[in-house]
Symmetry: C5
Subunit: 339 residues, 5 copies
């Protein structure tokens, strides 16, 4: 489920963001504590080896190695690589969000353009609406692990009422080596045309308005599919990951506190706990985690889109809108500002 904190930051107040630092759900701590422990343990282990096990000559060698590692750790352009990469990931993530298919525009048009309060009219509107929901469900099954878990087979889709047994038979019957998520889309067009022929949809203007909207809906669906299918090139993700991991590997050795009595520059002090290195771990690993969390927003992370909730909401709301609410209107009265 998405972690919403906007109400917490409505106003810029005294150290306004500090309170965000004490959240757990969706927080950097929850995401990173395991990696942090690993890093801390490794750092400590190396530190203990250096302090307790090594002989004098080995210590000198290790000290040289540490200084060498430290120097190169600073050369790794982690900040930049991460900055450009995360910007890319965040843009993709947000585009996926704004292209989530919502049936509201269609239910608005279907409710008002497909006429008839009799059973046939109701069934028409409900069926059109169901096709809309079915198409997005088929897409969500492809892109979202959470939805796939809930609907592992088409039987589950039948059971959930998104497709009837007859429809499923026809669906399975269609011969195509390719994905068939577009089938309900064609059914929608055919059914709408039939409704137009029967006079349930008044004229071509109303019909094309529906068709245009449905095409827009399909584009949302296929764009989601596209984002899933063609991700950020693997090489880019590997480059970034390698950069960050290498940086931390270099830090494990290069940020050890060396014997202050040896007078290495910048090593006058032995604090035992490398507070700034640990903080740097939080920055960089946290930044990478932002990417990890957003690169596929259809998983089950705290911050992923609640796709299953969307599916339920969309079906419930859209059937309500096109059936129970069809031509239902409150009695029109003068408002309080009348004259």
């Amino acid at each position: 489920m998405t972690v919403t904190y906007s109400s917490k930051v409505a106003n810029a107040t005294f150290f306004g963001f500090h309170r965000l630092l004490f959240k757990w759900r969706g927080s950097i701590y929850k995401l990173l504590y395991r990696e942090f422990i690993v890093f801390a343990v490794l750092y400590t282990a190396i530190s203990l080896v250096y302090r307790l096990l090594l002989t004098g000559a080995q210590k000198r060698y290790f000290e040289k190695l540490s200084i060498y590692c430290d120097r190169y750790a600073e050369q790794i352009p982690v900040t930049f690589v991460l900055g450009f990469y995360v910007t890319l990931v965040v843009n993709r993530w947000w585009n996926q969000f704004v292209n989530l298919p919502w049936p509201d525009r269609l239910m608005f048009l279907i409710s008002s353009s497909v006429h008839g309060s009799d059973e046939h009219g109701r069934m028409l509107r409900r069926t059109l609406m169901r096709y809309v929901n079915l198409m997005s469900l088929l897409i969500f099954r492809s892109v979202s692990t959470a939805v796939y878990k809930r609907f592992p087979t088409m039987d589950h889709v039948v059971e959930a009422g998104f497709i009837t047994a007859d429809e499923r038979k026809l669906f399975d019957h269609l011969k195509s080596p390719h994905l068939k998520y577009w089938v309900p889309f064609i059914w929608f067009g055919n059914l709408a045309t039939k409704a137009r022929n029967e006079g349930r949809i008044r004229d071509s203007v109303d019909l094309q308005s529906l068709m245009t909207e449905m095409n827009r809906y399909r584009s949302w669906c296929s764009l989601l599919f596209g984002y899933d299918w063609v991700g950020i090139p693997l090489v880019y993700t590997q480059v970034v990951t390698l950069a960050v991991y290498t940086f931390f590997f270099a830090c494990l050795i290069g940020r050890q506190f060396l014997d202050p009595t040896k007078g290495y520059p910048g090593h006058d002090l032995d604090l035992y706990i490398p507070i700034f290195t640990l903080l740097q771990f939080f920055f960089y690993a946290g930044w990478l985690k932002v990417a990890e969390q957003l690169i596929n927003p259809f998983g089950e992370d705290d911050d992923d889109f609640e796709t299953n909730w969307c599916i339920d909401r969309n079906l419930q709301v859209s059937l309500l809108a096109v059936d129970e609410m069809h031509m239902s209107l409150p009695k029109m009265k003068k408002d309080i500002y009348w004259d």
Copy 2:
């Protein structure tokens, strides 16, 4: 209320921006003075402890610690992290602004496409317009703390005349576990269709023009809702906040003036007041404040959108446009350039 200063910078003049430095409302000083005082007090406290309380050996230790902190403070990539983050926040903020729902396009179409100057015609137009305003009000109540304070319950919405008692009953009556801000939207469609059936809207072309526009309005509303619901991932905000706070923490110790007689490099001078560190505090903390202020532009900051004003303006103007101004036209005369 938004702080508008564009007229102050219309022309690029001699040290053009300097006059902006002396504003208080919405200024960096107003936003930061409390944090600045805390920072200055802490800095002074540490300085006094170092100068007056510590013994010689403790001083030497503190000096080493200070140098260590200073070195790492410079390694924290505050500039970059802030640059990328603030760019993201500013883009989101501006997108929210351009997606604020304004009923002007709809009132234009309703005024000209829904005919009839009799009471029924007037009521039709006013009611359609009210539904439009009601929908955005419901959204604003969700996203804006200021609006929520003004309309804490639906009773306040009824009182303010956005919804009649009858409508509210019907609204409450609808069974849905989900938010119902879309209900006025469906009502709008139903009422427009009714008007079309009664001949108040001439044909499907006029009707679909209205419907399309209403769909656009709904998309604005739902996009605002989306921005509120799915914010910048908490982790990203935490990473940035941690980076800035850590930087200042490191500065508190690392930017102390050390005893010049000890000859630490870069510590030849004891100015008592760390003027550049204080200025840096203003830059970085100010930059972060930009983010804090813009991350939720529906609060009550000096620079937040004046949502309550919008709501009032929209209702007043749109009722005026569709009722009093309906088909009211100045007498057509030849303009002064005629022939």
Copy 3:
């Protein structure tokens, strides 16, 4: 007036941009020479004080201060802050340019869709066109200081022929505590509908085509208004300005040539004129000037949009197009490639 130099850089030639360095109008020199003089004078003053007035001990203190300032001047992230900020400003500036309201699309539709070459037909088209121009004029008066100077009161608007005396009376008559720039917009709708009822506009398809276009025009107008109303948050501008000013303040002291005989590192040479610091002043202050000039492109800078020219051009051209040119066509002849 906009400074156009694109024809000067049509081809990439030998040191292609160097000729741009010798322009005066709209140039960095014209914008910056005053600040540059102030900076140079202050630098010289400090330099003279240091060289001539200070005693030996004072000189030593000043030298330490200078080194201290120099070190911190380098820490101020001017480049970054400016880079991100100017990118933001430039994007806003360009968006304002592409959203300038041009009536060409509307005059094209009005000329071809509103029929009748008699006086009533001509008056219809001219009046519609006038409303279009009036609306943008009202907006320009709000956002542009240049236009406001030309039309300080509505009387000037009447005089210039954008609104007739009758229209103005009706305009003033409307009760609204809010801006009324949208009034001509509603008039346009009403008049177009009237023309449709009279058969001057053939059908709803033609009418809605006009209405859609008018809505687009209104959106341009309101977007301009939005850019003026909700600027870049004051805090951001202040942060950037502070950073740049502080940087130069630090340079005034930190970039002084210190006595070479004292052997301070990097101070082996006394050139008297700090050529690179002066150049840096040009870069950074020039970059900031870019922002100053573009942050409100409706002022009277050399590079601001020529709003008053636009207003004149739009009225002249649009009346010409919908009146004199209405249904005027050259005799159709075979072109030279016929068969």
Copy 4:
């Protein structure tokens, strides 16, 4: 074929991205191992020459050269140039993906708007659909080496059934010195108009809906063509390539381990294997490889778009949709939520 790994990163887990480091297909290792070997061999060769062949004086000279190279290697702004360049390439790549022409929107409209289940009706729909597919095929032949290999001549296009022999004759017959990919597009318009005249398309609203969609399809096609025709300016690509290559050339000499006994700063340690330089090679060369792979996504890289697959899918699916599925509808039944 595109390398899809989004399901692998659905959830942010413990060291979530590390598993991506062990993929081969589409990976940085597969792309870079040859360059890496060359780099390692050259490095080793130089190292051996330095250690074994050079005389004492030559060694001293080489050491100076190495330090000189190292110093300048750090001055080359590889990170920045790559960051800006790769961002540009990635944006172009993604825009090409979202502008791939998919016939789904058109098949939806054709299936529902072009009536008649008789042979003539079927042929009409199939032919329209074929023209759509033919146009994108002609474009793909121009931009994609993979498609060109599959369809080296128009004969192959005839054989594959995208164009009939008659059509091809007419196509070849047209006199134009320019590319003729737009011909099927005009045929489409002519055929649709004919269908409208015959009453197979009901009215102008349906027809224009089709035409608009076809125009959109054409724009996708021509945009793809544009991306291929006008690439990132060669100079930019050369600048970036030169920067990266120079950097590595400088590293070959500058990152050699120099004799520790000579006491050059930063050369206290002889590790034989320059682990961090090799890692840097991976970062920077990998980053450049991202650009190389994406700059033309229509080749045969692991991560390129599967254009040939698209062509097959589009033909199969679109003929299925407009013919077999035309007006075929599952029997309408009450859904499980009915009342």
Copy 5:
């Protein structure tokens, strides 16, 4: 003419981009060799003066100056300024490309919506199409030096057959102090309306479809004009140019090889040829050349848009499409996948 190299980089291969380094047309070498020679000559001259002409004391002074210059050369933020600036230029360049006016969408609609194979019908379509081409030609004359050279006067436009003598007379006759590129646009509207009145265009739906498309075409034209009229502010270009030129000026002195025997840090080696400085010249000057080449893509650079070619192609193709191809259709046959 545009330099297309995308087919050369279709696949990411072994040192994939290296082959781009050996191109001449449109290459960095062709663009930069003159500046490079100047730079090299100046560098050599200074070097010779230093080595041969200066006395000992002068040498010492020059050495100090050189070190001073070198230190400041590194402070000039060339990378950043260039990165931000070039990104801006590249975006503008690409937007100009995608907004080049292509008449294909219009010719598609005209061919199918303007009926009649008789001479009058043909003339109608050809004339409409000519107006379209004429409008873009008028714009291209304003923005492109290449086109202006080809059509220096309106006589050349008449000769080339874009406008007839009669039309030109009417065109010249129109009184307006402003540019008149929009005149063919109004003629188009008038002629289309006349065709509608004569029944050559069937109904308002077809007509408005044409009008909308023509409006889109006009927007492309005016956007191109806008890009030419309102360029990147001169100040910004000057700031960038100054930064780069200053940097190279500082390098001329600061990157000289100083006498190694004097022991200046980083000056242990005299290589005579400053290989890395020359490479840096290529990077930075090349990067600036990217901007120079793209800032006005309508010149005659190797990489500029081939506007004259476009004009010819558009006229030839569009007349072909609306005349010869009007309602010409291949005989419809069953495709090879039929049943």
